[in-house]
Symmetry: C3
């Protein structure tokens, strides 16, 4: 795919609402003013590429093609971890080699991964999102040299992680708990129940099919298992946070939770 046809850059970080995203945007605005930049998600669980990794393919699934995802959840910044570029089914992803991009790389049909050799001369020790990855994204859009070395996707950090992660990977504003499980491939199908914090939850189609206050699970708009409470907060009711484990129980197998 020709990177100079990138239609937009989507920012995916754990930076929160503060001053880091704006600095990345300013850098991009100066280097590639013609490329639209979208705040896709800035509140990934902090320091946890192992959780964000399972959210990312679900986020990408329903996005328009031709997007460059600039992904920064980077607790190892300033250390030895490499920078990656992944081309996957018509999209590009750029970020640290710490597992964050591993699930997209693993699940894609046509995937090519690269290590990024190019680095700028001025590079802070703690903000590679602004100083390295944002200008690298701009260079990709402009078709400029990035010193790429092709990598087998099996060589990426996180290549050996499990296909699904039976754990909470993201909590939204309403307290809904997104899990690292694809709802469409659970063995028990629609009859599958989810065990979470001592509760056994049945599946529903959506919120308004469940009485207010009752916890349930459903296939959310990203295709993930999501634990929710109609007009309530699942995070508070169940006492769960990103990283906490859940389990799934196939149909007719009420006694045993598969983790």
């Amino acid at each position: 795919m020709d990177p100079t046809g990138i239609a937009r850059i989507a920012l995916v970080t754990d930076f929160g609402p503060g001053l880091y995203v704006g600095q990345m945007r300013a850098r991009l605005s100066a280097l590639v003013p013609h490329v639209p930049v979208i705040d896709l998600v800035q509140d990934l669980p902090p320091f946890r590429p192992d959780l964000g990794a399972y959210l990312l393919p679900a986020l990408v699934r329903d996005m328009p093609r031709g997007t460059l995802y600039l992904c920064v959840v980077d607790p190892g910044v300033g250390g030895e971890r490499a920078g990656l570029l992944v081309e996957s089914d018509g999209d590009w992803l750029l970020g640290p080699d710490n597992g964050l991009l591993s699930r997209v790389a693993h699940r894609g049909r046509e995937v090519q991964a690269y290590r990024i050799g190019w680095q700028p001369k001025d590079l802070s020790a703690s903000f590679h999102g602004r100083d390295w990855f944002a200008p690298a994204a701009a260079r990709l859009c402009l078709g400029e040299h990035l010193g790429l070395t092709a990598l087998d996707r099996c060589a990426l950090v996180g290549a050996d992680w499990s296909d699904d992660l039976p754990a909470v990977v993201y909590v939204d504003r309403y307290g809904n708990l997104m899990c690292g499980l694809l709802a469409g491939t659970l063995p028990g199908g629609a009859q599958t129940r989810i065990r979470a914090a001592g509760h056994v939850l049945r599946r529903a189609r959506t919120f308004c099919d469940v009485p207010p206050g009752e916890p349930f699970w459903y296939e959310n708009a990203l295709g993930l298992v999501e634990i929710a409470v109609n007009q309530g907060r699942a995070d508070r009711l169940l006492g769960l946070a990103p990283g906490d484990s859940i389990a799934w129980i196939p149909q007719g197998d009420a006694e045993m939770a598969h983790v």
Copy 2:
């Protein structure tokens, strides 16, 4: 009005800072890349179209004309509630028929409401903001078919709601309490007092006319009654949150609070 002249789309939601707004923006970016999109407000009280309804006309009042408001506070998503388009005094509003748009429709001078018949083929059960309302907004900008059915504005959900709502409808970052009352039409005028959480509050022009730490009310920059504390947090001092009731006391009528 010709919708293809829409100058900007303003997003009005209760989605918070997470990953929902970015997905709507990405959808809009793919469909109408030439239309600017503005995050007008994303932290409306969650699940409460009955509160947001009283903030919306005040927000619209001072905005530039030619704006399409894409409004999503949608606890009934996935159920039977309809989708609405409202044309009001040179602006467009698009969102669920759950009362959220009812006050703008009621107060406008030249208003026409429509039910939206068009729906996309792929529609998640829980994220109509991304899957239905955002592409519908794009179709409106492009002058494409939306399957509109004209409605009398009296047929909208919320058409029978009271003109004013003596309650907190929004809390800003500083803890100021915006109320569903237009300051300019209070019967007692500038002498009106507000009763809130056991306090009787006098009117001031603005913050710096009141000693630090003292609660007061004033006409805020949206034209609403706002309860505030100079260099303090009214929400904490008074223990009030969105949905909590207040009352107004006209001049010379100190004993009786009108609710």
Copy 3:
């Protein structure tokens, strides 16, 4: 410098994630639709221009030139404080004369400050960011009259403030504590220690050079002294918040903290 060459407007406020920034953006979108607008930082410590003043030059340092900073931390809104325009080394800054712009004006090499005489006819008492400063920024971009009066930079509010502020000026999402001290000019250099909340902290290069859980200080990506904990929250561990004092201890001078 020709203001009509302004490449972008960067918003710098204490407004938080609510509805104020969107209203400013909408106003700018109507007046100067061709100028990109960037949310640089919206969560400066509320009501504290005296703290934001020490963050602002650090933020500006690594930004692309040709930026107009629209800066609103404005507890005196509606009172007598003036509006300022500062031209500093190829950038423009616009905001209230309450000290917020004083450190940029003081540290710049080529600096010219002006009082803004122009005001719009309709001006709310409480939201000059939307009603005065945003349209003034648009007028500057368009080369329109602002009624400017040149000021000596020594006449600005805050001109007599200390060069450095040994205090926390900003807390990021991770709980890191940015301080109003330039790391590069501390007398003790790399050996300098920081005394904060009863702890004496040594300098490190970056996070991954320190064991998890241990507090340290480092030169952050803005050039400021930042107190941090690897994979932990310094704000909670030390109990510090914006405005709280710290002290620095030069090499070999362990007994005495310079404030």
